[in-house]
């Protein structure tokens, strides 16, 4: 792990989070992409730093051999992220075509709930016999 790599991952996460917290769908997708880059980079950083490829018989020029396990994981993650990005983009396109806007509006139903005022059902108290004097 290097400080440079860690700083990059942290910045990617921070910017990604900021974008995910927006209302424009296209920005949310970009934010997710940045966070994925950050996560992949973090996994790769668990290796020894600058290294030679984990290929048997390769000449690494004195560098240590990289850890193949995080590489296999990240390789999978890159491809899956691409699939998700493509799906979300299609979703954003569809949403734009249907609503004419790229922004996610507040959920009307939720907003109604949050403004609701529930009142207690007040029933007459249980009957108590007033004994005659």
């Amino acid at each position: 792990m290097s400080l440079a790599g860690l700083l990059i991952a942290a910045v990617l996460f921070a910017v990604g989070t900021y974008l995910v917290l927006q209302r424009m769908l296209s920005r949310v997708i970009i934010g997710l992409g940045l966070m994925s880059h950050g996560a992949n980079l973090l996994i790769m950083l668990s290796g020894p730093g600058p290294a030679q490829p984990p290929v048997i018989g390769a000449d690494g020029g004195g560098l240590p051999v990289a850890d193949p396990l995080p590489q296999a994981m990240v390789l999978t993650a890159i491809v899956i992220t691409f699939g998700i990005t493509a799906f979300l983009l299609a979703l954003a396109l569809r949403s734009y075509v249907l609503t004419g806007s790229d922004a996610v509006e507040d959920d009307i139903e939720d907003r109604r709930i949050s403004r609701a005022k529930h009142t207690a059902e007040v029933t007459p108290p249980l009957e108590v016999h007033e004994v005659a004097e």
Partner: protein, 765 residues
């Protein structure tokens, strides 16, 4: 044993399946549940009473120590017999009480599930499964009490019961977790045999568990839900008030009472004080009711107070008396509720100011009521007397105030028992419209069910031996010692008899002078009405509770997606941070990194931060590409040429996709971002968390055994020299298959979403 629970569920499902045709016979189907329990309990009785509990364990997730543990010892057996015995009588009664109606089968199914849940409580050995059954009775009782949902009274009573017992149940769950944590086991049998050492956590646990029991058993100051619960149809009231629901709390304090007494010295005094207050308040309020059912309901509160303090005390002599009384209470209270049901059914009212001439027109019901009320008032020659003698005998030798308080409550019991009988079967009050039966009572379950239970209360009075063994063994099962108590019709001239005689005599004198008693009750009542009541407090607290619920859901469920994501993200950061903060080890500082890394870093960070500020969408595409290609460069440095290539390829494709989609969207982002500062704060929090987490992970980075074994085995086992490739297509081939499946699914999704959208766009031109 677990089969008995299944029978209840199956019966309920069968009722629902045939609900169109079954009508009120649904209760006969439902009675299969209690009947099966009764038969099972009778067959197992001798073995269990001999001291060998019936144990059954069903593994659910054994590796997580999640098992379904059933354990029936003599104590559980006593409750099983009471629940099932009263259950059978009440189900059969209900089948005659109701008219065929479209909602009756659903009600019957609910009651069957309720009965099954009650059985579940008393046979569970695992604290968590007790909790599950406990809450199941809360939910089903809510449905039973609120059956007449067109009546506001029934709806609010159901809500009251559910809120109070539900809140108590949650407190109890907290107590269970703390207790199990301290004891090292969730099994009650383990906790009882090896009690946890006294500690603050254990004290809190007992308090929370007590809260659960107090609310469920309608003890002061939470007793107010129970009288309201009589809004349920009478068979359900009979079941809830006599043998089930309220007995759950008593069961629990009895089960844990001895252990609690041993680990917390305040347990017994608290139980006694709570029980006595409940006993007196319930008895007093019963004196003032004109509704027969409400009178009985307050009587139940009073009786429960007595049972609670006796059985919860953990002292063998008191538990013995309490269990004897528990059986008596189930018999007479179920019978009396059914009597009220029959009166209501025949006369159309249960107002004691109006009922008139029932003694002549309903002789069978009258004598049933006499027998049951005599047992309730502990008149000699009834089982109620025998049981109360045992209870008094346990109290003799304790402090005199205790036995005096019990005697005072007994006097009230005598008076309200008489009030019940005279009110129901005596003449109507002047000035009120008299009401009598519209039709004679058929010789049906309306007559027989209460008669059998009330009759049992007399028979057991003459043959208390029939229950002696049961009560004795149950006492030993929870306290570990034999009480050496007696259940006899004539105890001899002992102090307990004196107290019984005193209660009866004073009660009789009061009954004989109704005008004066009424005047006194009225005078004291005017004073007592000024005191805060449980109902009043609940009524005042309810609006506040609803306002709190409105406010909190208004904040948490505000409809804004960014707010939801912010909450999720912050929780995801806070939980792990809270777990490590406090005992953080010194972090090792990683090496800075080579020059190339810093250069690529500058590119990535610059592009990423610019993404926040750009307004034109196509600039976004270029910046995004910058980040992706930068990352690909980093992968190359870190020794991943395959990754680097894949990243380049995928990034290019992604840019193409973005460009394609953004082409159709407006050219610039035209939203005004509000609340920038909170968003920045959340973003920086996440960034710092990732940075700190990375440092922490780096500090604990150990060896790489997996990697080394992959490196060593790649050539001999998979004949491949590129180890990453070997892992993907060979060692973890099935994972790659899963990955491909995800991609296929995503592709289908994209096609399904995008193709129609594009078609629409094209049509619009």
């Amino acid at each position: 044993m677990a089969g008995l629970l299944v029978i209840h569920i199956a019966a309920a499902l069968a009722i629902l399946w045939w609900r169109g045709r079954v009508g009120r016979r649904a209760f006969l189907v439902g009675s299969v549940g209690p009947l099966a329990v009764l038969v099972w309990a009778i067959f197992q009785a001798s073995g269990i009473s001999a001291g060998t509990p019936y144990v059954q364990r069903i593994g659910w997730v054994p590796s997580l120590d999640l098992t379904f543990d059933l354990r029936v010892d003599a104590y559980s057996l006593a409750y099983l017999l009471v629940i099932a015995g009263a259950g059978v009588a009440i189900f059969i009664y209900a089948a005659r009480y109701f008219s065929d109606g479209s909602r009756v089968p659903t009600f019957a199914a609910t009651m069957t599930i309720f009965a099954g849940a009650m059985v579940g409580i008393v046979v569970s050995d695992h604290l968590l499964s007790i909790f599950v059954f406990w809450e199941l009775t809360t939910i089903t009782s809510y449905l039973l009490i609120g059956y007449d949902d067109h009546k506001a009274q029934a709806r609010s009573a159901a809500l009251h019961a559910a809120l109070i017992t539900g809140a108590g149940g949650l407190a109890m769950l907290g107590g269970f977790v703390l207790l199990a944590d301290a004891a090292g086991s969730y099994l009650i049998s383990d906790i009882v045999s090896q009690p946890p050492a006294a500690s603050t956590a254990v004290t809190v646990a007992w308090l929370l568990i007590l809260l659960g029991a107090v609310t469920k058993s309608a003890q002061f100051p939470f007793h107010a839900w129970l009288p309201g619960a009589m809004s349920a149809p009478t068979p359900a009231s009979a079941f809830l008030h006599s043998a089930t629901m309220v007995k759950a709390g008593i069961f629990l304090v009895g089960r844990l009472g001895a252990t609690a007494t041993a680990t917390a010295d305040w347990w017994q005094p608290v139980i006694l004080v709570v029980g006595f207050i409940t006993m007196v308040i319930g008895g007093w309020r019963a004196l003032r009711q004109t509704d027969l059912k409400l009178l009985l309901a307050f009587g139940t509160v009073s009786q429960l107070g007595f049972l609670f303090l006796l059985i919860g005390s953990g002292s063998a002599k008191l538990v013995f008396g309490g269990l004897a009384l528990l059986v008596a209470h189930a018999l007479f209270k179920a019978a009396l509720f059914m009597v009220v049901g029959t009166i209501d059914h025949q006369a159309g009212t249960r107002d004691i100011r109006r009922l008139s001439g029932l003694r002549r027109s309903m002789p069978g019901t009258f004598w049933t009521a006499v027998a049951a009320a005599a047992s309730m008032a502990a008149v000699p020659l009834t089982y109620g007397f025998v049981a109360k003698e045992a209870a008094f005998d346990g109290l003799v030798g304790k402090e005199t105030t205790m036995i005096a308080a019990a005697a005072a409550a007994s006097i009230l019991t005598v008076v309200y028992s008489a009030r019940f009988l005279i009110g129901a079967f005596g003449p109507h009050e002047p000035g009120q419209e008299p009401a009598g039966p519209e039709a004679p009572v058929a010789r049906s379950a309306l007559l027989w069910s209460p008669l059998v239970l009330a009759g049992a209360g007399i028979v057991l009075g003459f043959a208390p031996r029939l229950v002696l063994g049961l009560v004795d063994n149950a006492t030993v099962a929870v306290t570990g010692v034999a009480a050496a108590g007696k259940l006899v019709l004539w105890p001899g001239l002992v102090p307990a008899l004196g107290w019984s005689a005193l209660s009866l005599a004073v009660g009789a004198v009061l009954v004989a002078r109704p005008p004066r008693v009424d005047a006194a009750v009225g005078a004291v009542g005017t004073l007592a009405d000024k005191l805060p009541t449980g109902e009043g407090t609940y009524r005042r607290a309810l609006p506040a509770l609803l306002t709190f619920a409105d406010r909190s859901s208004g904040i948490l469920q505000n409809g804004s997606l960014p707010a939801y994501i912010a909450i999720i993200v912050l929780v995801a950061v806070a939980l792990p941070a809270a777990a490590v903060v406090g005992d953080l080890p010194p972090l090792t500082r990683p090496p800075g990194g080579i020059a190339l890394e810093w250069m690529l870093g500058a590119l990535i960070v610059g592009a990423a931060i610019s993404l926040v500020f750009v307004r034109r969408r196509f600039a976004v595409v270029i910046l995004l590409g910058g980040v992706g290609y930068g990352i690909a460069g980093l992968y190359a440095i870190l020794g991943g040429p395959d990754l680097s290539l894949t990243q380049l390829l995928v990034e290019t494709l992604a840019i193409a996709l973005f460009a394609f989609v953004l082409r159709h969207l407006p050219g610039t982002f035209n939203e005004a971002v509000t609340a920038r500062i909170p968003r920045i704060v959340v973003a920086l929090t996440v960034g710092s968390f990732v940075f700190a987490g990375g440092l922490l992970a780096n500090t604990f980075r150990g060896g790489r055994a997996v990697a080394d074994s992959y490196l060593a085995q790649a050539v001999p086992e998979a004949a491949g020299s590129n180890v990453v490739n070997v892992i993907l297509v060979d060692f973890r081939g099935f994972d790659t298959l899963g990955e491909i499946t995800v991609l296929v699914a995503a592709t289908l999704g994209v096609a399904g979403l995008a193709v129609p959208a594009l078609r629409m766009l094209r049509r619009e031109g």
